[in-house]
């Protein structure tokens, strides 16, 4: 019995999951830096860069819920991004609905559509599901490209100003806080999921769906929950884009390349982890912007080559992403420390 207590104590201190106090301190410091960032950095293009990172990270975190945790590889999330952007924009510009409400409705609509997609597609396995999601997103893009009411290929414009009532600003700072707020909200939801029984169920579904069923997990139901949550937040991200750029059209908010990017951000950083998409977004945006500055714009395709080489390299050599690599390094250190501890305990 004594031995059991000892094991439990060691487990609590060097837990496999859960965050040590030193990590929590570092996170609080990081949060402080991030919140006060715009006060130190005034250049709009630098601010814009960070905003892009925050937005990419938020989309990655949203994708991660269905793709990284629950293991259902959706490559059509841009459908919800676009649906969110279009729904909130149409409600706001054509029907005068308050943007705060319109954005929420956009998110809920996306969640409902995800129910329809999930109901028909979740029985499909692996590749088939991925391809079905691509097909759905492409169909939605075709619909919006030909829908006059929604601006068809020309797109929709949003008014140039409005302040906090309309979530439209002339300076960058408010957008920074909006993007940060949305990211923190999405991360918070992800964290709560990870700590709750939902997190366990999602990961079980990803690892071994048959075994999960034998433990009472209704696969359809929980995949659907993950999908709905993911779609909701992706849609919110789309609305944020609309309010920031003040212009949307099918090629900017319904383009399949964006779906890939949402997944890539998580893969690069580490699927199934909280910090993965954030790290991945930072790295990816950095690479994108720097290749564009150095090589892009001349139509030479060099930025594409670098981007692509990166994707292939990650897929082949680092499928667990940055976080996976860091974790395996740390766990080796923890294992050695634990061996020393056990040696002393006798």
């Amino acid at each position: 019995m004594n031995q059991l207590k000892e094991i439990q104590a060691v487990s609590a201190a060097y837990g496999y999951t859960g965050y040590k106090w030193s990590t929590r301190l570092a996170l609080i410091l990081l949060l402080g830096v991030v919140i006060f960032f715009p006060f130190f950095e005034k250049s709009p293009s630098h601010q814009n860069f960070i905003i892009l990172v925050l937005m990419a990270a938020q989309l990655g975190v949203a994708w991660n819920i269905i793709g990284g945790y629950a293991g259902q590889i959706s490559l059509g999330q841009v459908a919800f991004y676009g649906l969110g952007a279009y729904t909130s924009t149409l409600l706001f510009t054509k029907f005068g609905v308050n943007p705060w409400l319109a954005i929420l409705i956009g998110g809920l609509l996306a969640a409902c559509i995800s129910l329809a997609i999930g109901w028909s597609c979740f029985r499909l396995k692996g590749h088939y599901f991925a391809m079905a999601t691509i097909a759905v997103a492409e169909i939605i893009q075709i619909v919006f490209t030909n829908w006059e009411f929604a601006g068809a290929a020309v797109g929709l414009n949003l008014p140039m100003e409005g302040g906090w009532k309309f979530l439209i600003f002339t300076e960058k700072e408010p957008y920074y806080y909006l993007a940060l707020g949305l990211l923190l909200l999405t991360l918070a939801v992800n964290y709560l999921i990870e700590k709750s029984y939902l997190g366990f169920y999602f990961r079980a579904i990803k690892d071994e769906p048959d075994a999960a069923q034998s433990l009472g997990v209704n696969l359809r139901l929980y995949k659907q929950i993950a999908f709905a949550i993911s779609s909701f937040f992706t849609a919110l991200g789309g609305s944020l884009y609309a309010h920031k750029e003040l212009y949307i059209d099918p090629s900017s908010v319904l383009h399949t390349g964006l779906s890939i990017k949402m997944a890539l951000v998580s893969i690069l950083g580490g699927v199934g982890t909280l910090s993965g998409p954030v790290i991945g977004a930072a790295v990816l945006t950095l690479i994108e912007e720097s290749t564009r500055m150095l090589f892009g714009g001349s139509g030479k395709g060099t930025d594409l080559i670098i981007y692509a080489a990166l994707i292939v390299a990650i897929a082949v050599y680092y499928p667990s992403g940055v976080v996976g690599w860091v974790r395996s390094y740390l766990s080796r250190r923890t294992a050695m420390r634990q061996m020393r501890l056990e040696g002393r305990g006798a």
């Binding site: 700590k195 990961r203 034998s214 433990l215």
Partner: protein, 237 residues
Amino acid sequence: MTLLHVEKVSKHFGGICANEDISFDMDAGQIVGLIGPNGAGKTTMFNCIAGYSRPTSGKISLNGIEVSGLRPDQCARVGIGRTFQVARTFHSMSAMENVMVGAVLGSRNVSAAREFGWQLLELVSLAKFADKPAASMTISEQRRLAVARSLAIKPRLLLMDEVMAGLNPSEVKEMVDTVKKIRNQGISCLIVEHVLEGIMPIADKIVVLDYGKKIAEGPPHIISNDPVVISAYLGDE
């Protein structure tokens, strides 16, 4: 009181008849062995009982409630637990987390599930692996983990699919002791086994399948001397 009632269950896959007209009963608190040569249809029977396959004809009920045709997760909630031939532990999780997936069925509270998880890991002597990745454990340890995990859903009937395969004699003894501990907690066990020296000594009853049909049913000492059973095994060697 009859716990499990299997009545004239048949299962066809296209042209193949994996189970043909199989009937047997299990009482609460029993350990029943399901044996037979390879390909006899034992795992198919498990799949039918646990909801992974729908019987082509026939009926299966647990405590009088019909379970044939339910989804696997529904069967689990009704009280049927199962392990698989390949342990299928959740490789991205630790041993404790594996057990907790089962434990949260009863109570969604994660810390209560963790408490329960410690008890189950103790039962199968895996407590020291609690925070180790499941993927880093040996096959026999993973098997015991899968058993602990299935117990976490507080089943009334536990189906164990070849839990003793490939184990050395001391591991077999450990597993046998675990099965007895499980039965002593009031959980009935239906066990598919090839390792006869593991199952025969502890079973209350043995059901023998061959080519999809039930060829014998009875206490172990009768079965082991039954000429029909013996020729079924020898005929396949």
